[in-house]
């Protein structure tokens, strides 16, 4: 017996897409070959024709996310001329739209061995963007590096804290003050 009865054959991307959806819904741990197979009306055995192992599936899903994420988010930001406006836009995207669901999961799983390399690349690109902002504000390199680190660590921690409803209640309502803090003087 074989061939899934009339249905078009599955591709690597079908599995990867389903896995990315699962990541968005419940994190990397929620990627179960068994449940994806059920969902795709195939057997677990079929999966192993497309992938060597579960890890390879997760890598493929993350690749999908990275490609779509890279071509989507940053260009729109880079088009904004004024650096403070750009920072505000960046923070607003954190505060309002909770980004896409996969981003929310991954921003918090940067220590997973599979997620780490992918998220490191995305992080570098975003930190570059932050550095550009502070550089354009006329700060010197060491200062720029510190602020970029502070801003990005804040971005990650903010996502993490918001996942807990009890704690999320404490988050500030307006982002203008945040922008002011991040771009402000600092009294050494």
């Amino acid at each position: 017996m074989a061939t899934r009865d009339g249905k078009t054959p599955l591709s690597r991307e079908d599995w990867a897409r389903a896995a990315l959806d699962a990541i968005a819904a419940g994190g990397v741990a929620a990627v179960s070959i068994e449940s994806l197979a059920r969902q795709l009306h195939a057997t677990r055995g079929s999966f192993y024709w497309h992938f060597r192992a579960r890890d390879e599936l997760i890598e493929a899903a993350l690749e999908l996310w990275e490609r779509e994420n890279t071509t989507a988010g940053l260009p729109a930001l880079e088009a904004i001329g004024d650096p403070v406006t750009r920072l505000r836009a960046l923070l607003r995207s954190v505060y309002q739209a909770p980004a896409d669901a996969a981003e929310l999961m991954l921003s918090t799983a940067g220590d997973d061995p599979l997620v780490a390399p992918v998220y490191a690349r995305v992080t570098r690109r975003r930190m570059d963007e932050l550095r550009r902002i502070f550089t354009e504000l006329g700060m010197e390199p060491a200062e720029v590096a510190d602020r970029a680190w502070l801003a990005y660590a804040f971005y990650i921690g903010h996502h993490q804290l918001r996942k807990n409803p009890d704690i999320a209640a404490l988050q500030p309502a307006r982002i203008d003050r945040m922008v002011a803090l991040l771009t402000g003087g600092g009294n050494s």
Copy 2:
């Protein structure tokens, strides 16, 4: 057959302690009844006399951590009179000693359904401490709340970012500038 041949009987706490060690080493996901049983020279079956299920074991381990964490860290901090010095001490404890290993794992797992309530309580206590610092610096309540959120989100994100060696290289060497940024003016 029964009773583990001469050895003293195991207690709930023996299992919980072993589980906390496993969390420190590899996070909540690393808590495996099978491997703990091997380590304690008992069988998996024995575990179920002490606990109803794996979740209960993890809760017990987190309880252990919370109790020891609460009585240890904060009092020393609260003894410091000058608020800026206190903030500096707080940040230094983040930068230098990577806290205890369990803290590192848990600071990043705040969205786990078992970790969430425990970590929320610890977070609240720490944010209270941060608010006290900024209040003593003479800021008004809204400003205090924003800074405490910024500082704590930074704390969480900092841990997360440092888990990735590639990214950790970008972290600032000196913390004085961080303190300055967090306590500084902000140009609204």
